[in-house]
Subunit: 359 residues, 2 copies
Amino acid sequence: MTEPLAPGSVIGILGGGQLGRMLAVAASRLGLVAHVFDPDAAAPAAQVAARHVRADYDDAEALAAFAEAVDVVTYEFENIPTEALDRIEALRPIRPGREALRVSQDRLVEKRWLAELGLRTAPFAGVDDAASLEAAVTQVGLPAILKTRRFGYDGKGQARIADDADTGAALDAMAGAPAVLEGHVDFGSEISVIGARGLDGAVACFEPGLNVHEDGILRTTTLPAPLSHAQRTDAVLLAGRILNALDYVGVLGVELFVTPGGPIVNEIAPRVHNSGHWTQDGCVIDQFEQHVRAVAGWPLGDGSRHSDIRMQNLIGADIETVPELAGSASAALHLYGKAEARPGRKMGHVNHWLGPAAP
Amino acid sequence: MTEPLAPGSVIGILGGGQLGRMLAVAASRLGLVAHVFDPDAAAPAAQVAARHVRADYDDAEALAAFAEAVDVVTYEFENIPTEALDRIEALRPIRPGREALRVSQDRLVEKRWLAELGLRTAPFAGVDDAASLEAAVTQVGLPAILKTRRFGYDGKGQARIADDADTGAALDAMAGAPAVLEGHVDFGSEISVIGARGLDGAVACFEPGLNVHEDGILRTTTLPAPLSHAQRTDAVLLAGRILNALDYVGVLGVELFVTPGGPIVNEIAPRVHNSGHWTQDGCVIDQFEQHVRAVAGWPLGDGSRHSDIRMQNLIGADIETVPELAGSASAALHLYGKAEARPGRKMGHVNHWLGPAAP
C-alpha cells in the first residue's frame, strides 16, 4: 500500500494512553477512524476512539481481530512484545517499521546504532553483572548512570553512581536485568527535535525546543529554545539522518544534549513525544497529525511554528492547579481523562501561548 | 449545580453531526467525557465520543438513560422536539436553556423577540396563507424571501419572491407550513459574532468574521473582517445584549448584515456555529471548548485571536480537493468522517492560516 489512505480509513493504535488519545483526535481531524488496543478498561484513548479492543498483548485472537479491522497499525510506546508485532505484521503494515523498534527498545543497541551512524552519544558500556560493571566504570568513568537496557521511561529503572561505593546498590536496582552504564556529559541544556518522515521519504522537522526535567521527568518545553542558527540547523540535520537511516515512517523524538562540541544524542523515541506537545498550539499541523499523516501516506506538514509556546506538564497533584489555569486566557489545556492522580503520573499538560513567533 | 464540573464528568450532546463531533473533541481536551445522542449509526460524533446512544428523539426510555448517565446536557442543533427536552430537563440541566431554544426554533418568534429587545431586523411579517402573504407583501415590500418559521437551515425551506407573479409558487414551496416573509435588506456584507456567556454571567465574544455565502450555504469566513473599530464594537455589544437577555449559558452565533445605518440581525443560533470554525486555528481557546467550558461551569476564554484565518467549507464534491489541500503547510484540515459526499453536504472545512494577527 503506497496510496494515501482515503478519509474513512482506520488507523489502529497500539496503546491507549495520552499519546494514543491525542493521536486518535488528530486522526479524526483528517476524517480517519481510530481503533485502540489496550488492556486497560480506563485507557484514556478509549474515550475518543471509535473502538477499544481491550485485551492483553499475548491474546493472539484479539490482536488478529484488531489488525483485520484496520488499514494500518501504529503505536504510542516502543515496548510492544515482539510476538504481538509479528502477529500484526502478518496482517497489516506497522508504521514506524520494525527496525525503529528494534533499535529503540534496547538502550545498548540504540547507542551502538547511533555510534555506527557517526553520531555522538554519552560514553557507554554494557553491564550484565558485577564484573562487567567494574569494567564499564573503568571505561566510561564516574559519575555515571546505570540504566536497564529495556522498559525504562521517566527516570524509572535508573540508578546514579557517584563513586565506587554506589555500584553494588545500583546493580541491585537493576534486579538482574541487562543494563548499560552511561558516562557523565557536561551539557549546557537539553533540547529535542520532533522529526517526521513520510511514506514517500520526505522529511520535515519541528524546531528544537528547550527541555527542563525534574526527577527524571520532563517538566517544560519552551519554544523558541535559546540556540544559535547553527545549533538549530545541526539538531535538525541530525534528526534527518536518523530518520533516513531507519527508513522511518512517522514522527520520531530525538533528545539532545547541547555541548560546546556539538549535539550529543541522549535518546530517541519512535513515536510522538512529550517534548513535542507544544506543537498543538504552536503549529498549524501538530506532531500528532504529522504522525497520522505519515502512517496514512499523506503529505507531511512542513513543521513551521507560528507562535512561541511554553509547554508545562501537569504531573500528579499538579492537576489541582487546573481551576487556576482554566482562568488564564493564554493557557491551552490538554487533560488526559485519567481518574487517579498518582505522584509522577502525567495527568495533562498546558501550552502557554507566549506570543507570535518572530518572523 | 453551580460548581464547575470536575475532570471526568460527562457532557451529554444531543445530535452527533460535525458540531457534536468537534464539541466531543473539545470536551476531551478538558478531561471531560462526551456522550452523544443521535439516531444515526453513522453519526460523525460517535467516532470520537465515549458513548453513542443510538435512538430516536421520541424514545423516552433511551432519553432517560442518556440523561441519567451524564452531568449536563447540551445540543448541536436547535430543532430538538419539545417533549424530548422536557424528559431530559426533568433529570439534568440543559444548557443553553429553554428560552434560547424557544426563541430560535421559530423565525417569527425570533424576529419579534429581537425587535422587542430594540435590535434591528429585516422587515418581516407572518404568513399562513395566500391572504396573509398578500398583506405581508404590502407591508414589507418586494423583493422578499418567504421562509418556513421552523426547521430551515442552509437555504432550505426558502423561496424568493421577486414580483407578485412569484407569490403562488413561493407559498406552494412552504407546503402548508407557517412561514415568515422577510423584506430585502441592502447590506454591504454579512458578518457573524460568536459570543459566549458563562454560568457566572461572564460574557466573552470572538471578533466578528466576514461571511461569504453561495446558494444559501456559508462558503468562507475571514478574519479580520474589513470593519471599522466602531462596527466591530457595535457587533460585539449587540451579541452581548442577546446573551444577557436570554440569561444564556454557552456559545451563540449571531449573523449580522452590515449597513450604513448599523448592524441588522439576520438570525441567531443557540449553539456553536459554522462561522466560528476559524477559532480552532485562530485562538488559544476555540468556540467548541468555549461552549464546553460554559456548559461545564468553567471560566471562559477571553476570545482573543492570535492569527488571521480564512475558513473555507468543504461542501459535497469539494472533498475531492483534500489531497491538494493536504499538501499545503498553511491549511489546517478538519474533516467530519462522513462516508457519502452528497451535493450541498458539509464534509469538512479548512482553516487557512494567513499570518499572525496584527497587534
